[in-house]
Every structure is written in C-alpha cells, then in structure tokens.
Symmetry: C2
DNA sequence: CAGGAAAGCTAATGGCATTAGCCAAGCGCG
DNA sequence: CGCGCTTGGCTAATGCCATTAGCTTTCCTG
C-alpha cells in the first residue's frame, strides 16, 4: 500500500476541485467523503492534514477570498482611461469571477466567517476586498461622509445581482448581461451625482 | 399514550417556529429532529404528515414567500402620496420583514425552488412578488423596454443589502439604516431618470 | 540498518433522514 | 354497546456523514 503523499495544500486543492465541480452548490456540498474519494484515501486519513470539515471549509474560503481580492487589486493597479472606469471594471470582475466559479463565490459569502474566531485571515482578506471597492468609490468623487454608504450600496447591488443570477433567480435569460450593465451604469452615475451633497 | 393530534398544518407551524428561533441560520438548521422534539413525538411520526425534509422545507418556503407577497400587495394597494413612494415603501417592507424574521427570509431564497418540479406554488408566489415590484417600477415611469432591467436592479440592490446585513457583512453597525436609505434613494432617483432614454 | 515520526488504515460512536412493519386510539357503523 | 378499520404514533433497522481512538506500516534520519 503505497502512500498517497498528501499534505495540507494537496487536500485543500482537492477540496477546491470538489467545489468547482459542484456548480453553484459546490461549496455547500463540500464533504470529507468527496475529498477522500478524490484523494483515493479513507476519510479519517484526512484528519492527518486538516482539523475537520469546518477547518477545511475555512481554508477553501480563504483561497477564494484572496483570489477575489487579487483580482480587484489588479483592476486597481491598471485603472481604465476614465476615473469611473475602475468601479465599472471591478463590478464586472466580481461577476465574471462568480460566473466562472460559482462554487467559489459561495465560499466567499458567509455569515460563516464573520463570527468565527479562527477565521481572522479570511476576514482580513475580506476587508482588503472592501478596501479596493472603497478606493474605486473614492475615485468617483464621493465625499468622505458618504463613503461608507456608497460602498455598501455597491456591495449590495453587485452581490445581490450575482446571487440572483447564480441561483437562476432571473426567470428568463432575457439578456442578463444588459441588465448588469444597466445596474452598473446606474450605480456609477448615481454615485457621481452624490458629489454635490 | 394519548395522541399528539398533529396534522400537516401543525407540523408546518412547528417548523416555522424552529426557523424563527434559529436566527438567520434558522432555515438552514431546520431539521426533522428539531420539529419532532417540539411536537413531543418521535421523528418517523412526522412522515405521517409530510413527505420528508425537502417537502417540509418547501411548505415552509411557501408560507414565507406568500407572506412577502402579501406584504407587498398591501403596499401596492395603499400607495403613498407621491408616485415614487410605492417603490420606496416596498424596499423598506422587504427589509423590515427580513429583519423581523431572518430565518424566513432565507427560506424565500433559493436555487432550491427554481429547479424543483414540485415547487410550482412557491414559484408562483415568487412571480407575484416580482410582479408587485414591477408595478412599482412602472409607476416610476420607467419605459417598458427597460422594465426588466430595472426590476432586476431593484431586486439585486434590496436583496443584496438585506443578505449582507443579515450575515453581519457590514463590519461596524455605522448606521445601517442610513445606508439603506441612501441605497433606496439612489435607486428611486436613478430609475426616474431612465425616463428620458 | 535501526528506530521513530508521520501517514495511512479499521473499528466504533453519534447525529441525521428515511423505510418497514408493529400496535393502539378513536371513530363509525351495525 | 361493541366490532373493526383507519390512522397516528412507536420501535427497529439501514445508510450516509463527521469525528475519535488506536493500530500498522512506510520511509526518512541518524
């Protein structure tokens, strides 16, 4: 019986594969059994590398949040020509990422991490995501005292759209891309007008 | 051994109680065990009244969606003075309902029902919810060819905000009410400007 | 090449849903 | 009044999952 040669990283990678293969419910359906099956190993063997299912979920979530953070950082570094381009690009980045890997997007969400004392790293990466959005909003000229409200509005709008889209909540597929553009344009132009407040 | 005198409705009512007591994860944590414990009955006895856990969830969801639909219908019937008042009121109605019963709001969401062949009633009630929003958007003067986009934007914004709020996703509680007002005002004024298109 | 740490295993426990099959409560009808 | 059937409840058994305990084997290290 040769060894499988697993380690923490390999287990997390296999878990990510499970999540990716599971569509938009991939994260919810993440199970030690599934990971063990993929690894060609008995379930309890996984405990040699991760502390349990909740810990594995946390590690997976961390990878996913960092992925999102880095994608937004890349946008931040290369702002489009116009100043509103950044927020626009970030919105599309989030949606694209979510569509490419729905399971990973679910992993990012989470009442889960907000109150989990062991999820400091996840929270930190999440805060970085919000910071990038905040910078984009600031670039639009939103005054400081409205900054928080504006960032919350952006997060709500984009996240809400993505969630509804992934859940298939938009009945007919009536050009969902156009609807997203409509939303983002409304957001950008709405926030630009806040300047006058 | 007297009988407990359960029936389908009583079981669903107990399930709703479980959901309500479970906070924002109440629906996810809904379990036959919990319902049976409340009913003072062994778990398998529940199968005499409901077809299983998925069916019970569906029944619970139906109640919750109908509740939301009726709340929006009430707004529709008694429009505020100004014509934009309706959409504003609906947005607040949704949020208030979600805050009052977070567990029930989660029940309404659902990739779950969209593709479940046995959930026609849930889908129908959901469609009615969307219809009410659509009417409010129309009252704002949004032209017909933008109606779908506008309704999707409203749903995304409100739903996204509520989900983030319930998940505790807004770090500090920095006047979340004000942020919601900001979002709703932006939505209403943004949609009124679409008229010119 | 010996020995111990690390990685795998099997077995056992406990929570959950679900199915099968048994028993008794209570209603309706003679 | 009592017989019997429908119906609601029960216990027992199965299966899937996570988790823990404790054993074995591999393989690196000295």
């Amino acid at each position: 019986m040769p060894r499988a040669g697993l380690d923490r990283a390999a287990v997390v990678a296999l878990a990510l594969a499970v999540v990716d293969d599971g569509g938009s419910t991939g994260f919810a359906d993440l199970t030690l059994s599934a990971v063990a099956a993929r690894a060609g190993v008995a379930v309890p063997s996984l405990y040699k590398h991760v502390a349990g299912l909740p810990a594995l979920r946390r590690e997976v979530a961390l990878v996913c949040v960092e992925e999102l953070r880095d994608a937004l950082a890349a946008v931040d570094v290369a702002p489009a020509a116009e100043p509103d381009g950044t927020l626009r690009a970030m919105a599309h980045t989030v949606r694209d990422l979510a569509r490419r890997s729905p399971g990973r997007y679910q992993a990012v969400q989470g009442s889960l991490w907000v109150h989990d004392p062991d999820a400091d790293a996840v929270r930190a990466a999440g805060a970085a995501v919000v910071d990038h959005l905040s910078a984009a909003v600031a670039a639009l000229g939103v005054p400081a005292e409205r900054r928080i409200d504006a960032v919350r509005a952006v997060r709500a709008a984009v996240h809400g759209f993505v969630v509804l889209e992934l859940d298939g909540g938009f009945g007919m597929p009536d050009d969902v891309d156009a609807s997203f553009d409509f939303l983002v344009e409304g957001l950008v132009s709405g926030l630009r007008r806040v300047v006058v407040t």
